[in-house]
Symmetry: C2
Subunit: 312 residues, 2 copies
């Protein structure tokens, strides 16, 4: 359940008077997402998604909202923020920073086909290319420095074997530098539940609130680790190959990217292994988090450490 | 038939490589519109409208394209131009300035209902409000100076009674000044064939290439003169009232606007009476113009000169 802040029809009607969107017809809470409050808002002009930010502050929103605006202007399938009559993309509602974005058709898939993985790869590369002309910048708050610090708080809580493996994995990543690889705007959280599909086509990427500037290949690794992962926790070769093929058709990888690809896949797995371990051992107070299993990412790292074919 | 410039699949494929829109799937000429060449373009990412400008030059396009971009960002239903990988909204294709915009669902209506007229008025007021924060400017090339000059070339071609009426009508307009009325961005050509409807709702305004900065009320008059005009050439009171009510719900008229409203309706009629007379007596060389009947606007002026109720 993700409605932390209740919005009344009256409060929303008053707020909507600042927009050129006609009159409020319907308001319905959305029971997905764990960080923010989301509503479907229907007006006489159409259907929108209202987000009230429970953690991000108003001054932190421009990067994400302008990015979505920029990407949709370039044809990348994603929600487009709607500007109010004074040209702002966000303002306060019920005490929280709030924005309206266009509502996309489509639904997320739990078992994507190879065609869907190919489309995903293609759209991700499209996002990376369209990001080239986006001028705002945001550091990745979930990089090597973050996972090294997080690991320090985790070691004491983990079984010895897991702690040893985490330590070794962080050392492995420390011994590789990715600074020279192509970088730009990345989604950084392109799991299956952040993509709406309409049949075999991408209806839209959603939830851009982890987006940042970082190495592009890291984004490919994060996406592949979720999209091509089978129920048994291992990677499906056909899905992985389809995703990579789709990506490379739009943005071919450099020789250096290909060389770093196996370690990058492990970096993508490490990032989520660590964040899920944190959620498990240090659950955020007051939040109704769906605790997701950290073990799938540990298993993925083991899988990668034994693999020789990385679908290139 | 409005395909003046032929675009091959190969030429379009090369041009689309500069966009983040996936691969070309289909290309189909659109047989509507009389000024530019239009195609439906389907790519792996979606459906778009390609316009090749036959008269406007590349440096003249930013006002129109940025305006559509601005309006759609504010929730006004209209096509959104797609930016290429270097962030341009238009570039040359087959020797013509060309742009891609999103494709809207819906179709134009020839006999609108009162509900549709109300929705039209509401969306037009929305456009006027959203135009407040648009910073580019464009003079109206079809204003009093233009119709006075055009009339000089027409008098000799017209039957005496028509020439006398045209002269009197221009004098009437000259005796009124609208400079003090609220002004801003206007569409300036919001006839029924420039609006796509989806049931009772506005799917989108199209064809913004007469848009300019002028008196807002002039735009309302132009729209009403087409939307509320019956087959017999007179205005339907119910449709006119619905359109005005829809408009005023979003942007109430000032006392001065109400006072000038009857003359403004005649200004809107005069503008199209003159342009249609020009098309009839001086058809543009080489263009396959559908010559539209000027007499409907002369008749409308007669109708207005006898009327006392203007639905306020």
């Amino acid at each position: 359940m993700s409605v932390y802040t209740s919005v009344t029809k009256q409060a929303l009607t008053d707020w909507l008077a600042g927009y050129a969107l006609g009159e409020l017809v319907d308001l319905k809470g959305i029971a997905a997402g764990i960080t923010n409050t989301n509503y479907f808002v229907t007006t006489t002009h159409g259907r929108y998604v209202l987000t009230l930010f429970e953690a991000l502050q108003l001054h932190e929103l421009p990067y994400y909202l302008q990015l979505m605006s920029h990407l949709s202007r370039h044809g990348v399938a994603c929600p487009a923020p709607v500007a109010d009559n004074t040209d702002r993309l966000a303002s306060m509602l019920c005490g929280k920073p709030a924005c309206l974005v266009t509502c996309l058709d489509g639904a997320d898939v739990s078992e994507p086909s190879a065609t869907q993985c190919r489309a995903l790869g293609e759209m991700l590369a499209t996002l990376h290319r369209a990001g080239d002309t986006f001028t705002l910048k945001m550091k990745n708050p979930r990089g090597p420095r973050w996972w090294s610090q997080a690991a320090q708080t985790l070691y004491a809580r983990l079984p010895d074997s897991d702690a040893a493996m985490l330590r070794a994995e962080i050392q492995l990543q420390d011994s590789h530098r990715f600074d020279h690889l192509p970088s730009g705007v990345i989604h950084a959280d392109l799991f299956k539940d952040n993509v709406l599909m309409k049949g075999e086509a991408i209806a839209g990427f959603i939830d851009f609130y982890y987006a940042c500037n970082d190495v592009l290949l890291y984004d490919v690794a994060i996406a592949l680790n979720d999209w091509a992962r089978k129920a048994d926790g291992t990677i499906d070769d056909t899905l992985a190959r389809a995703l990579l093929d789709g990506y490379r058709k739009v943005r071919p990888l450099t020789a250096e990217e290909e060389q770093n690809w196996p370690v990058m896949l492990r970096a993508g797995a490490l990032r989520f292994w660590v964040s899920r371990l944190l959620d498990l051992h240090f659950p955020p107070a007051g939040e109704l988090t769906f605790t997701k299993d950290p073990a799938v990412f540990r298993q993925l790292i083991v899988d990668y450490s034994r693999r020789t074919d990385f679908w290139l």
